[in-house]
Symmetry: C2
């Protein structure tokens, strides 16, 4: 059995005791698979368990009555896609599987038990949701103040680093299993403009994107274009 990617992710930020790892592992009631393009959680639900993504890509999204959609987060292995439903209770958005997803289910009762008995582990789970929040804020500033091209570059830089911390990169290459329409929904752009922006990044020699595989050809320049600084990802190891 290989390492739980959540453990990988948390260990990047603080020390986890063996006991805590065991608790985390035993909080999982079962593992399920969700097919691509299916909802992992529906908007409006009151789930009694949270979904920890072991493998695959997922997206949180909101839909408007007229069909417009905004993706508010992209999730990868190690991400708790709806840990917040433990305390928020009602899902105010849906979560969609972008690829086939292997998912560990953690009952809210188990989470409550953790908060009762394991303060340090609780803080790390809380930290997890705080990092989600930090990413949201970064997306807000990118959305509000960056050009479409810069925003795209920023997004690629972020996803690359996040995948790297859970060992899901291969050199400068990683899997980006989104259609251009989905990319548009996450950046707040039209599909057509996504296409043009990508062409620009390619022409500039910053990225290559073939099939699912995105390769960063010039990290420094891509970072500059996207005005990317990774502080907000909290990659430092500290006592929390």
């Amino acid at each position: 059995m290989n390492t739980n990617p959540l453990v990988l992710k948390l260990e990047q930020r603080d020390r986890l005791s063996d006991d805590e790892k065991r608790v985390l592992e035993s909080a999982i009631s079962r593992v399920r698979v969700v097919e691509a393009d299916e909802d992992i959680v529906h908007e409006g639900e009151h789930p009694s368990e949270s979904n920890l993504l072991l493998d695959g890509f997922a997206a949180r999204y909101k839909i408007f009555s007229n069909g417009r959609r905004q993706i508010t987060a992209i999730h990868v292995a190690g991400d708790f896609v709806d840990l917040h439903s433990f305390l928020l209770r009602t899902m105010d958005h849906g979560v969609l599987a972008l690829t086939p997803c292997r998912i560990a289910l953690v009952p809210h009762a188990a989470l409550e038990k953790i908060t009762d008995e394991h303060p340090h582990l609780t803080r790390l789970l809380w930290l997890n949701t705080l990092i989600d929040g930090a990413i949201h804020r970064e997306w807000l500033t990118a959305m509000g103040r960056l050009s479409a091209t810069a925003h795209m570059a920023h997004f690629i830089c972020e996803l690359f680093l996040r995948l790297k911390t859970v060992g899901r990169t291969d050199g400068d290459t990683f899997q980006l299993p989104l259609t251009q329409a989905e990319l548009g929904d996450t950046l707040g752009l039209s599909t057509v403009h996504v296409n043009r922006v990508l062409q620009e990044l390619r022409k500039e020699g910053l990225i290559r994107w073939q099939g699912d595989a995105l390769t960063i050809l010039d990290w420094e320049r891509l970072k500059n274009v996207g005005e990317f600084t990774p502080t907000y990802l909290n990659l430092q190891h500290e006592h929390r």
Copy 2:
């Protein structure tokens, strides 16, 4: 001594025991006042206490090298403007006082003690940061998929409800102490366009805004224009 607005805010969402209220109150090490236009916390800092806003308005913001600014949150009485610094450690953004602010300081040591000894209260503090996250997601969708006018309407609706839950509204009127430039920085618009959007809302008879006082003249229509649904504010009372 009047009620701590954080207690007001939390009691809207779950029951607080007298003991928990006492613990919360005694976690405050001191109260300070920050003048308008001063930073409450600076970007890059490693604070050892968090700031609970008792009175006034504050904004979280990021600044780019070229001077562009994006405000990622507006905070009002009862909001813990940087509770996340307890676990995130490094401030990845600044927090600015928009008006004179009365602020309670809560040492991180006291927060750590709460997480060690008061699981339910811990969950409520966590909840607090989760609601911040939900608001961020809502702002993302408004930013990505709403017109400038709709976005403005949405923002006004949200702020009104948030102020109402902490008793800071007077009928349909509340204090909106932002300049149009600051509003632009929160909505991701230019100052000029903010002005034009406001004129439109006024001409449509949706709002009045004189000095600091904003009055909602037609709540239903404003809600429609802003496609506003308050689910994400988690105003229901539930056991958490």
